[in-house]
């Protein structure tokens, strides 16, 4: 071994990183980038490698953030914590990122001491959390599972917030209904005891109209060479099936690295093939009718099995394995060197072929009730289809979260403005006490409250992208928008409904622009049992978590004193 020739260069240490312009500029750039992706009228981003690689057009944080890599640890810190939130709750990644970055930026601009800001933020976060979780929360609705209406509204709010899907109104509605239907299919009806939810498997078909998308109970797996299976349709008795998770390609891929020494006369390949055929014989003897493998099946084994009337499905992929196990009750076989135990076999009720555009798929119907379903998503081109897939999976996850907490928050920025108004009002009378508890001056505390509330409101404002105005009404503190070209005198006529669609404009209402100072007031709760349903709903759990993640990440960033970078 040669020793290193390059001397290790000394580490780079940055003191008070948030005070350097370079880092501030980069954080600001990131905020602008993500802010422009927020909401239904967002601007899209093209992600590509500039050397002719695939182009992804997106506005989803779950696609965009992984593509962003930076030499700046601050950016990576924020990115990682947002992505972590997204992986757990799917929704509100952009919300969390924008709020977090706004909080950092506004705190810096306000000149507030870092440790004071951190304490104030913590206090206000606790205040917000307890308000949102409390019974008297004025920006929350209970979800009623007796009707699918609110669920569809929730789904629709998420789907319509991603313009890169390029959906028309009827298409959006169709997809929203499908995701709700798929979600409902994953909830088992009649299993006593602990309920475990099923799974939605998403299959995409390019070049087909969105309205052709559909949901099927059971599982659809790709059959690239559908021609071998013409006689499958009539099978409807319970069929024995086997599921392999190991590769049956006939190679020695499981051996791992290292040198292997073999005698020249030994033919490893034919030995493995013999083993495979041995396996095939057992399968035939055990009257298996469906043979599924996660990976590749050797053509010779396939030929052998087919010649015995067995349907072979190979390369189903890891994502389908779990649903397959749930659907069939099979235990995946991970080796080809032992006999298949009888209890490893699974059962399916019936099989049929389904054709979707260019795709031929085998439809596996479960024996008895199963909470597995397949969602076939169609769209005209690849870019829009991949975004649609991301959005639908996210929606399904959010719908699932409603089972944990059957509530939803007002969407369209109304929760943010409402929360800001609540925080301002709540703190009016308690400034001296809270300031002394937090160990800061009253001015500092009030400044901190203002920073927090403005950051919240800036997220609501981020929904505007065409130079329009964001306003707040002075009764319910909901969020209202005005297009850029509306004349001052016609303002009142231009308000239709607030962001979430619950409050209607009326001559008695007063509005003020967000970002102007207004006399604090207690946001009036809406009349209970009012017949109007909100048009835009946000996931309760996801938003609450996003709020927490954003505040805590911002606090951590504000707390950083040094950055030490190994530059060698």
């Amino acid at each position: 071994m040669m020793s290193r020739l390059v001397k290790k260069s000394p580490s780079l240490c940055t003191d008070l990183p948030l005070d350097t312009t370079d880092i501030c500029n980069k954080l600001n750039l990131l905020r602008q980038l993500l802010r422009s992706c927020f909401g239904p009228t967002a601007r899209l981003k093209q992600v590509h490698n500039n050397i002719g690689g695939h182009v992804v057009t997106t506005s989803s944080s779950s696609v965009l953030l992984p593509a962003i890599s930076s030499s700046q640890p601050f950016i990576n810190l924020i990115k990682t914590s947002i992505l972590n939130h997204v992986s757990r709750f799917s929704d509100f990644g952009l919300f969390a990122a924008i709020f977090c970055l706004a909080l950092i930026e506004q705190t810096k601009q306000s000149g507030l001491r870092g440790n004071v800001a951190i304490r104030v933020n913590k206090h206000l976060l606790a205040l917000c959390s307890s308000y949102l979780q409390g019974e008297d929360c004025g920006c929350k609705v209970k979800l009623d599972f007796c009707s699918s209406h609110n669920l569809i509204t929730l789904a629709r709010s998420i789907i319509s917030s991603k313009p890169a899907c390029v959906l028309t109104e009827p298409e959006t509605l169709h997809i929203s209904k499908l995701t709700v239907q798929a979600f409902l299919l994953t909830v088992p009806c009649s299993s006593p005891g602990t309920v475990s939810l099923g799974k939605v498997v998403t299959v995409t078909v390019e070049g087909y109209s969105v309205l052709n998308s559909a949901v099927f109970p059971g599982l659809l797996v790709d059959m690239p060479d559908g021609l071998c299976l013409n006689k499958v349709n009539y099978l409807s008795n319970p069929l024995q099936m086997v599921l392999f998770s190991s590769s049956l390609a006939g190679d020695l891929s499981e051996l791992g690295d290292g040198m292997i020494e073999v005698h020249p006369s030994v033919d490893t390949e034919s030995q493995i093939l013999d083993q495979l055929l041995e396996l095939g014989k057992q399968v035939v003897a055990d009257e298996v009718k469906l043979f599924v493998c996660q990976k590749v099946v050797h053509p010779v084994l396939q030929q052998y099995l087919r010649s015995h009337g067995i349907i072979v499905v190979e390369r189903v992929g890891i994502t389908v394995m779990e649903p397959l196990i749930q659907l069939t009750g099979a235990h995946p076989v991970a080796t080809l060197h032992a006999k298949i135990p009888p209890k490893a076999y699974g059962k399916v009720q019936g099989l049929s072929m389904r054709q979707f555009g260019s795709k031929t798929m085998l439809h596996l119907q479960p024996l008895g009730e199963s909470a597995i379903c397949t969602m076939v998503l169609c769209h005209r081109n690849e870019t829009m289809l991949s975004e649609l897939k991301v959005v639908c999976q996210k929606t399904e996850h959010v719908l699932r979260l409603t089972l944990r907490e059957p509530s939803a928050l007002f969407g369209g920025g109304c929760t943010e403005t409402h929360l800001a108004a609540y925080v301002r009002h709540k703190n009016k009378n308690e400034v001296p006490e809270t300031a002394s508890v937090l160990g800061c001056s009253q001015t500092e505390y009030l400044l901190g409250v203002e920073v927090f509330c403005r950051s919240l409101e800036s997220v609501a404002r981020a929904l505007q992208h065409d130079g329009g105005y964001s306003l707040i009404d002075l009764t319910h503190a909901h969020h209202w928008t005005l297009p850029a070209d509306v004349m001052e005198e016609h303002m009142e006529d231009s308000f239709g409904l607030c962001g979430c669609g619950l409050v209607e404009s009326s001559p008695s209402k007063k509005w003020t622009y967000i970002d102007t100072k207004y006399a604090e007031f207690s946001p009036a709760p809406l009349v209970k049992d009012c017949p109007i349903q909100p048009r835009v709903l946000d996931s309760f759990i996801a938003k609450l978590s996003a709020l927490q993640v954003a505040t805590e990440t911002a606090n951590l960033a504000l707390d950083v004193r040094y950055i030490i970078q190994d530059v060698s």
């Binding site: 500039n50 962003i68 390029v166 005209r380």
Partner: protein, 642 residues
């Protein structure tokens, strides 16, 4: 070192790029295409291309918009094989429209919703003006013959129009003037079976294929020679398959092309069977096998000892350790070849079709045993052979047993092309007997660089006919569908304008949006006008200005005579005669021998995809470039590093 780069779009560079890209290909639009040389300065190579798809393919675009266009066109081409030029042109034209809207201060949201509305209008026009292919072929299009039958036709027409007009009135929405659609409705009736029955004239030229010939002619779009080959292929296929001729009978998977350089273009022809080029050595084997019924084996993949099926992972570090030196034994490859050839001889296989490649050694060995090995066979050909000979494709030759071998294949020397340069080649015809047979279209040209374009043209024509039969409907060609769309878009503009005037007092956002709507729809219509006039310019008979004047004149006179339903089509026919066939490439003296039609699904899909691209690019305000080295790109303008 990885970094992300963000490019700020001022002035919407993306839309400008899109429009510029489309601009390159203006001369590729319509029946009169011009060839382009694409040169690689680095390597001194060049390519000759004339279709939009080929040009985009050889341009190797690396920018995001270019890549997006490339992906869209590739996806379109894969399914439709035609219409890419239209797609790209409209993407360019509508991106200019969108840019114009942005300059006028219309918000992105308004542009999107208005353009989507415009697309809905156009799709609706296409759907409603589509003509059924049923009975299309029997219409006399020369007007002089038609006149004598007018009376009878009108009689039968009367009944049907009454009924259908009543029903179509039901569908009418109030805002769009549907009267114009009556042309197509009447046309549909005029071309209906009723008319066919009243005619006692001599039967059509091709009794068993009445409409296909006609439809094909109408869809040739200037590629008359290629379309002739398509028709021949269709006729040959249907004759071979002994099926009664009905519509969706053009199985395009049964057609193969074989390009022969060095022969003049007139030598192009259609041959039953599958013609392939073979080396002299293999041709000798073929000669030996002529006039025999051969046993055939089909192999999916390569035919060599080192080939393994997809997904097989080879072991990297294998050392063969032996306790004694063995010099006498054969190499592994030799052993494999011997084994395979012995197996083939046992099974009496004389012909092997392989989708991949075969190793030199195995070809030689097979040759000495008079076994013909054909490489690079298309999957569809393999499938046809499997169906008609009873053979089953296998991955490895060693898998072959009696039940996987088919029989009844034939081999015939089709033409000896003599030696070209160093290699000599012989065209050999392989067929699977008469049942379920294949048809080869042999394309020839003296100019090697043109062969690709000829092949593309042939496939474009073949797919046009295929889609027409699949859709069972056609659109009026020669720009008439576009004219109808323009007309309806402008109607809608008018409608919005009037509504704005009515409620001028209330300046609500709704009317503001409506005002924008009119502007956007007008700009969209202008894109279509641009399309028509560009096609006209490409005929070489018009300047840009006269083309636009002609189009706007026609639109105006069309608007003026809304009462007369048939006016538009008449106008067009008249006009085409006068201006010596505006859109179609006709030989002089042959004013108009045939109607021109377009494909319904292809056009709809191309338009929709064009708008999709425009809307995606319009909404994009930044590019995130992954994996940028700080040194390489940081110097670039407009690039911000995160």
């Amino acid at each position: 070192m990885l970094g992300s780069t963000i490019i700020n779009h001022r002035q919407h560079v993306g839309l400008q790029k899109l429009s510029a890209l489309a601009g390159i290909l203006h001369s590729c639009l319509g029946p009169n295409k011009k060839y382009k040389f694409i040169q690689d300065d680095g390597h001194g190579e060049s390519a000759l291309a004339c279709s939009c798809f080929r040009i985009i393919e050889s341009l190797e675009l690396t920018c995001a918009v270019g890549q997006l266009i490339h992906e869209t066109i590739r996806a379109h081409q894969k399914v439709y094989h035609t219409g890419s030029g239209c797609l790209l042109f409209l993407a360019g034209a509508w991106s200019r429209a969108a840019l114009d809207c942005l300059h006028r201060g219309i918000s992105v949201a308004h542009i999107i919703s208005a353009m989507s509305e415009g697309m809905d209008i156009c799709m609706d026009v296409c759907r409603k003006s589509a003509i059924s292919t049923e009975g299309l072929g029997v219409t006399p299009l020369k007007r002089d013959t038609a006149t004598s039958h007018r009376l009878e036709v009108q009689l039968s027409e009367e009944r049907i129009t009454n009924a259908s007009q009543a029903s179509c009135r039901l569908e009418r929405s109030t805002k769009v003037d549907h009267k114009t659609l009556n042309i197509s409705e009447q046309r549909k009736i005029k071309l209906s079976r009723h008319f066919c029955e009243t005619r006692s004239d001599p039967p059509p030229r091709q009794p068993q294929l009445p409409d296909i010939v006609h439809i094909a002619e109408a869809l040739s779009h200037g590629c008359d020679d290629a379309m002739k080959l398509v028709v021949e292929a269709v006729q040959m296929l249907s004759k071979m398959n002994q099926q009664d001729v009905s519509h969706s009978m053009f199985d395009i998977t049964k057609v193969v092309t074989c390009v022969l350089p060095g022969l003049p273009e007139q030598h192009a022809c259609v041959v039953p069977g599958c013609v392939v080029l073979l080396s002299a050595e293999q041709a000798a084997v073929a000669l030996h096998l002529q006039e025999q019924h051969l046993k055939v084996a089909l192999i999916n993949g390569d035919f060599s000892d080192t080939y393994r099926h997809l997904g097989f992972k080879r072991l990297k570090d294998v050392q063969r350790v032996s306790d004694r030196l063995d010099l006498s034994s054969l190499s592994r490859e030799d052993e494999w070849v011997e084994k395979v050839v012995r197996l083939l001889l046992n099974l009496e296989v004389k012909l092997i079709l392989i989708s991949g490649l075969a190793s030199e050694k195995v070809i030689q060995h097979c040759c000495t045993h008079h076994i013909l090995v054909v490489e690079k066979v298309k999957a569809s050909v393999l499938k046809t052979f499997a169906n008609s000979t009873g053979a089953t494709p296998v991955t490895y030759a060693t898998q072959l047993t009696k039940r996987y071998v088919g029989s009844g294949a034939e081999v015939k020397i089709w033409r000896d092309l003599g030696s070209r340069g160093s290699k000599s080649a012989t065209a050999v015809n392989i067929s699977a007997g008469m049942s379920g047979g294949l048809v080869t279209v042999v394309l020839t040209s003296c100019i090697h660089g043109k062969l690709q374009a000829l092949e593309d043209q042939f496939w474009a024509c073949a797919y046009r006919l295929h889609h027409a039969l699949e859709d069972r409907a056609l659109l009026l060609g020669a720009g008439r569908t576009e004219m109808l769309c323009i007309h309806h878009l402008q109607k809608q503009v008018e409608y919005h304008r009037e509504r704005n005037r009515d409620c001028v007092q209330q300046t609500t956002t709704a009317t503001a949006a409506n005002h924008y709507r009119g502007v956007v729809l007008q700009l969209m219509a202008e894109g279509l006008i641009d399309y028509i006039s560009t096609v006209m310019v490409n005929t070489g008979k018009f300047s840009k200005v006269t083309a636009r004047t002609v189009v706007s004149q026609q639109l105006q006179s069309y608007n003026g005579h809304l009462g007369v339903a048939a006016e538009l089509s008449q106008l067009f026919l008249e006009d085409e005669k006068e201006d010596s066939a505006v859109f179609s490439e006709m030989k002089p003296g042959e004013a108009r021998a045939a109607e021109i039609y377009d494909n319904l699904s292809v056009k709809q899909e191309a338009w929709r995809k064009a708008l999709d691209v425009v809307l995606l690019v319009l909404q994009t305000d930044a590019e995130v470039i992954t994996g940028v080295g700080h040194k390489s790109d940081a110097a670039q303008e407009n690039v911000l590093l995160l």
